[in-house]
């Protein structure tokens, strides 16, 4: 018994010494950060249901930091990323950003992935009056709070992500437009506003809504949904999807022999290799989607894009960067622009600059309204003969040809 007490005492002593050592190490690191480096705090969903975009975003941030450091750093200081894993959990992300600010004493913040996590995270940044540039988070709920320090660094908020698609449908002669559209939508803060935005514009054109239903995130049976769409008589489908439900519904449409003349999906078709593999390369032909990033983009309008593509290929042995990695890279470029133009780490001045200027990124030029909502448009893309092509806007289009009506499934 006495031995056990001694052992317990020693264990407690050892734990106390380790804790003291860690506090001392943290203090030293923090001191070093203030001297010659700029420390940027980020919490990402590296595990849990958003782990894929979270991990991709981390790659984008890391490549940005490495490229900027190679070219002399930010304000001539080396960038150090302080990345935490929020496990896709809203409570954890709040605690992470609080710790980054009050314990790790980071100089700057960058945002996380999905509206779901940026909603609570941006409140922490706003309370601490720190600029918070988010690579994903276009849900209207994020802008309804009129935050001053929040900026969404893609081209458009969710309700406007399908604007170029809607404009393309409008450009068709009335007789060539689809007559009725089905709108199956995943219950998600991102997909629903996208589809509602498109639907409002289609109904304004007089195109009938044949089917409009929201399905839960854990749906695994898509045959029932495809059957309902088929029986609705819709000749076009505008699908608010993420990856798995996107390919699931297409597979069910193929099974049930339902061939819409026009097919638009959110998110799923952007995951090029996996999408083609999941539904079959031939079946991708003619599917339309909105996308924020084009790996082939180059020139002044898309600064650093080709450097990013090259570095990404080298670091991760992948043919092209994912859209999520590119979005994170662009978010960091927005923050970089604000810091560089202001010339110091003044959060108020940085926020004011972003509200009144254009930042140039690999996604193209971005600018924001007073709520941090972007004012540009997503690219309209289409799968054509096994390859993703950009249809609009013209300055980045990779083809003038549009495949319509969509060929039948194979």
């Amino acid at each position: 018994m006495r031995r056990a007490r001694w052992a317990l005492g020693l264990a407690l002593l050892a734990a106390a010494l380790i804790a003291v050592g860690q506090v001392s190490a943290t203090t030293k690191a923090s001191g070093a950060a203030q001297a010659g480096t700029i420390k940027i705090g980020i919490s990402l969903p590296l595990t849990g249901r958003f782990s894929e975009p979270g991990t991709d975003a981390m790659k984008g941030y890391k490549i940005w930091a490495s490229l900027v450091n190679k070219s002399g750093g930010l304000l001539k200081k080396k960038i150090v990323l302080d990345i935490k894993d929020d496990a896709s959990d809203q409570a954890t992300i709040v605690s992470d950003y609080n710790r980054l600010i009050s314990e790790d004493h980071v100089d700057l913040l960058l945002g996380t992935f999905s509206s779901f996590l940026n909603l609570p995270a941006s409140s922490v940044a706003e309370k601490n009056r720190m600029v918070f540039v988010a690579p994903a988070g276009g849900s209207p709920a994020l802008f309804a709070r009129h935050y001053h320090y929040y900026f969404f660094s893609q081209q458009a908020t969710a309700p406007h992500q399908g604007d170029l698609f809607s404009a393309w449908v409008k450009s068709l002669k009335p007789g060539k437009r689809p007559q009725s559209i089905a709108y199956p939508t995943l219950n998600d803060p991102f997909t629903q506003p996208v589809i509602e935005g498109i639907r409002a514009k289609m109904e304004a054109l007089g195109i009938k809504t044949a089917f409009s239903k929201v399905y839960p995130t854990d749906t695994t049976d898509f045959d029932t949904i495809a059957q309902q769409i088929k029986s609705s008589g819709a000749d076009a489908v505008v699908h608010g999807a993420t990856f798995q439900d996107g390919v699931g519904l297409i597979r069910s449409m193929i099974k049930l022999g339902y061939n819409p003349r026009l097919m638009f999906q959110t998110t799923a078709p952007t995951e090029a290799a996996d999408y083609a593999k999941a539904i079959g390369l031939q079946n991708t032909n003619g599917v339309m989607y909105a996308v924020s990033y084009a790996s082939k983009a180059k020139g002044k309008r898309f600064p650093m894009n080709q450097q990013f593509v090259k570095a990404y290929k080298k670091a991760y042995n992948a043919p092209i960067p994912t859209e999520d990695a590119a979005d994170a890279f662009a978010a960091a470029q927005v923050l970089q622009a604000a810091v560089t133009k202001v010339g110091k780490l003044d959060q108020d001045k940085m926020a004011n600059w972003l509200h009144s200027h254009v930042a140039h990124t690999i996604l193209g030029p971005l600018s924001w309204d007073s709520d941090g909502a972007p004012r540009e448009a997503f690219f309209l893309a289409q799968w054509q003969r096994g390859k993703p092509q950009i249809l609009a806007p013209r300055y980045i289009a990779t083809t003038k040809k549009v495949i319509y009506p969509k060929p039948a499934w194979h």
């Binding site: 929201v214 399905y215 045959d223 049930l256």
Partner: protein, 294 residues
């Protein structure tokens, strides 16, 4: 009308598969008074094993039933010896124990294969049979047909073999069964292993549709709904309950406003209604006697 028949057919095809998935759960409850809440997790584990073998070998999931069933049988046997035999005859404790096992299985699956959706895709995945204007997806038809064949074999085993008679005797009258020389412990272990083996076959058949670790919550709620509806412990009750559940889900999805969002609530509604109106389920026999007369 065509629409209604199409929905009905899709519901019945799903129901056939549900019946196989529910058979092991009802068998284990009927014989051992154990409510195996881990049954859904084991089903999803069966689907993951199928997906794993399919990805490595390209073998058809229907053929892989011959692999997953014995693997899950062995796992069931070991699981019984290590954990379940301690709670035999104690339904409340069995719920706690097997719920914790379900969480452990979910955690392990997530750790190994992440939380991404998985699906097995075969050469006939995108094809259907057509009767008039009614479409029958091939994978659903095959899955339902094989589920019914396996259920038939299970029924034959329970009614025509010595082991089946021993299982039924143990359920009906444990003391009497012991007196005539039936080793109750071994029969219970075998019953549990057979119950878990059905999740191997069932897992292979559900691998055609998307699954991920936490899908087991959907499955266990659905399966509990089925066996409460059919009568807990009754194999034939589970069969009828499963068909009704499949049709109910399809009808709710189609005809209830915003029905797609209500589909996952159907099993819970079924449990509520059955417990209020007819607590013993449709087949209405006392559960342990019921298994003895399958």
């Amino acid at each position: 009308m065509t629409d209604f028949i199409q929905v009905l057919v899709l519901g019945l095809l799903a129901g056939g598969l549900y019946a196989l998935a529910a058979s092991g759960l009802t068998l284990v409850f009927g014989v051992m008074n154990v409510i195996n809440v881990a049954h859904g997790a084991l089903l999803v584990l069966g689907a993951y094993l199928t997906w794993l073998f399919w990805r490595r070998t390209g073998a058809d999931p229907l053929l892989l039933i011959l692999v997953t069933t014995p693997v899950m049988f062995a796992l069931g046997w070991v699981g019984y010896k290590l954990f379940v035999q301690r709670v035999r005859g104690a339904p409340a404790m069995s719920v706690l124990l097997t719920f914790s096992l379900a969480l452990v299985i979910q955690g392990i699956l997530g750790e190994i294969w992440s939380n991404d959706f998985r699906t097995v895709i075969t050469s006939y995945s995108n094809h259907s049979f057509t009767i008039g204007s009614i479409v029958l997806p091939k994978e659903r038809v095959f899955a339902c047909a094989i589920a019914i064949v396996i259920l038939g074999l299970l029924w034959l085993m329970l009614t025509r073999t010595w082991l089946g008679r021993a299982i039924r005797a143990s359920a009906e009258n444990p003391q009497g069964a012991a007196l005539i020389g039936i080793e109750l412990g071994s029969v219970a272990a075998l019953t549990f292993a057979i119950g878990v083996a059905t999740t191997g076959a069932g897992g292979s058949l559900i691998s055609f549709s998307s699954f991920f670790p936490s899908t087991h919550y959907l499955w266990i709620s659905r399966l509990l709904g089925i066996i409460v509806l059919g009568g807990m412990g009754s194999l034939s009750g589970a069969f009828v309950g499963a068909l009704l559940m499949g049709v109910a889900e399809a009808m709710v999805a189609k005809y209830v406003p915003n029905g797609l969002a209500w589909v996952t609530a159907v099993p819970y509604m079924v449990i509520f209604v059955v417990l209020l109106v007819r607590p013993r389920g449709i087949f209405g026999a006392w559960t342990r006697e019921d298994v003895a007369t399958v």
